[in-house]
Assembly symmetry: C2
Homo-oligomer: 364 residues x 2
């Protein structure tokens, strides 16, 4: 089976940094080996730097981003608890599903796909929710929801934020914004393959954990004993050693370049891409002022598709002829928008130049 | 931070095959890329070969072995359901915890640690359980529980088996033994780093799935749409691409060598190790006739420890002076037994020779 390489410009995974792939070659250690524990501690220190937090409970969940969503939700919500959830895309919708399954009462606050949520709507939705949950960067629409005003007005509620596509891509301030629980993924702006979900949890959230999580695998009280440096380092489950090497290396790349520089690189790529698309007459999908630089959503240019081709045909040509992956739309915007990511190692100007030129070659 | 390599002779991870580490270098593809889907299908075909099953729903859960346990349990058990669980070590105990959390009624059948469960005790424990669950190879004690007699006598019950430490290490026949749900881990006899949990699920089990799993991440009805070749290949969560490359390669090594040859290699290493330990006056912990070749449990030779050293001190010397990891005991046998694994690439005679010689040098 032949596998050519790809320029990954879909909604994730992005291309991993070369140093990350090299880290997969590190000799495998046992999960209780002191040298591995030291590397895990250093990984968690690096995560605190990119999350901009001092939370001791900051570590990679041993599964992909959606497991981070589930871990943060099922440890603070159960029957009798109310959660306000902002929904303006697939991932807000997914939060509602996860929260309902653990028995919580879900109060939805919807905004149209492509538009940002109004923070005040979330604050006004319920007088005393246990949790307010929102997606920072909606991967299904390319929209940024504002987090800081929710943190400022949340009162006693815990603030839970999906940072899968925002972490290291755009400014994010866990502590300064008052975020209590957050989760991310490795395969977006961290430049690491998919497989882990970095999470961070405040002391206030830990105090309000449910007595026993419905999930054993994602039970943060048990996992904390292994992953936090003050814990007993007791075995819970076998840590995914090699993926943690990869994350450790990806975070190393980000911090060596400088978090602000990495964000600036994502911004520059997004700016160039969005300007290039507008120049060509494309219509951007996401609300102006709330467009993510790392993930651009754009209306499919129906009148410029090559004769006999639908939008999927264009994506297939990009993939097969150019080795470039871009993403289609999900749910209500399937077939109507493309999603173009510039994340992690993919966030290079040359990739934007190439994609725009390739679209010029394919489209009428 | 310096990381010397290790000879991993603990209860897992074992050393990965060199071809597996090489596979981490494959270019990352998107999880919906046709080339990746083809590789996933081939991985699942290979899993069917090592599980000895034709189950269409056979794939790696995107998390470590304990998530496979949770996935198989929470999709078939809920409030009002009864499960009989055999407990003769940590992992049977863990099954009880997971099953209680999803509201099932748990009927425990205990055997002393170090001894095998009597299959008839499991069959007699309840007149009409929905599920009978048992661990094939108890990693905490080195004991093999017999599965075939349970499958033969189970009647309408579903048979759920933990194959984390048995898959590819000792004979295992999912279809011939009547196993309905099974899960494993990559880091044991498959010779792959930890990170994924291969599972297989029979048609009979799928028919008796709970209406909605309490876990979104581990919802097998949803995941089946992505992982099975007849499914819509619809996005559920982002597959852990690079770990799947590693698993694909590890399975390739096992099948190229031949599943029976790989099992014979594990058996030869276990035989040599256990004979060598007995020759030296050590007392094996696991019941004779039920000893796993891939994981040997042995009583700590208290009277032969170097002056001033406890058993942990010996393990530390093995680790620091020889770069060899062996495991201590868990729970009631902590400090009393050592667990010595020969799994995956570690299952080489030279490693047994080395460990025995190193013990000769350290012990009085």
């Amino acid at each position: 089976m032949s596998h050519a390489d790809r320029i990954l410009m879909g909604p994730g995974p992005g291309n991993p940094y070369p140093q990350v792939i090299k880290a997969f070659g590190r000799p495998v250690l046992g999960h209780l080996d002191p040298d591995f524990i030291a590397l895990l501690d250093e990984t968690n220190d690096r995560l605190r730097e990119v999350f901009r937090t001092t939370n001791p409970l900051t570590f990679p969940v041993s599964a992909t981003g959606s497991a981070g969503m589930e871990a943060t939700i099922v440890n603070v919500l159960g029957p009798g608890d109310t959660v306000v959830i902002g929904v303006n895309g697939v991932f807000g919708e997914r939060m509602c599903d996860v929260a309902s399954r653990c028995g919580a009462t879900v109060v939805r606050v919807d905004a149209e796909w492509g538009w940002a949520l109004d923070p005040q709507d979330l604050l006004d939705a319920h007088p005393d929710p246990k949790v307010i949950a929102v997606v920072h960067a909606e991967t299904s629409t390319g929209v940024r929801n504002d987090i800081a005003p929710i943190g400022a007005g949340k009162g006693d509620a815990l603030l839970l934020v999906d940072c899968v596509t925002s972490l290291a891509g755009i400014p994010l301030e866990i502590d300064a914004w008052g975020v209590d629980l957050a989760y991310s993924g490795t395969q977006k702006c961290l430049g690491v393959p998919p497989g882990l979900s970095p999470v961070t949890v405040s002391a206030a959230a830990i105090e309000r954990f449910v007595e026993k999580s419905p999930s054993w695998y994602l039970d943060l009280q048990m996992i904390a004993e292994y992953v936090t440096s003050g814990g007993a380092r007791a075995y819970h489950h076998t840590a995914p050693i090699s993926m943690i090497y990869a994350l450790h290396a990806g975070l190393g790349v980000v911090l060596e370049e400088g978090l602000e520089n990495v964000q600036a690189r994502h911004q520059a790529c997004g700016d160039k891409l969005q300007a290039g698309l507008v120049d060509r007459g494309f219509e951007l999908f996401a609300q102006e002022g709330h467009r993510l630089p790392e993930l651009t959503s754009v209306m499919v240019p129906i009148d410029r598709l090559p004769e006999g081709s639908d939008e999927a045909g264009v994506r297939t040509r990009l993939l097969t002829e150019y080795g470039i992956e871009i993403g289609g739309g999900l749910g209500p915007v399937a077939g109507k928008v493309w999603r173009i990511g510039c994340m992690g190692h993919t966030a290079r100007i040359r990739n934007v130049t190439l994609l725009l030129a390739a679209l010029d070659e394919i489209l009428d």
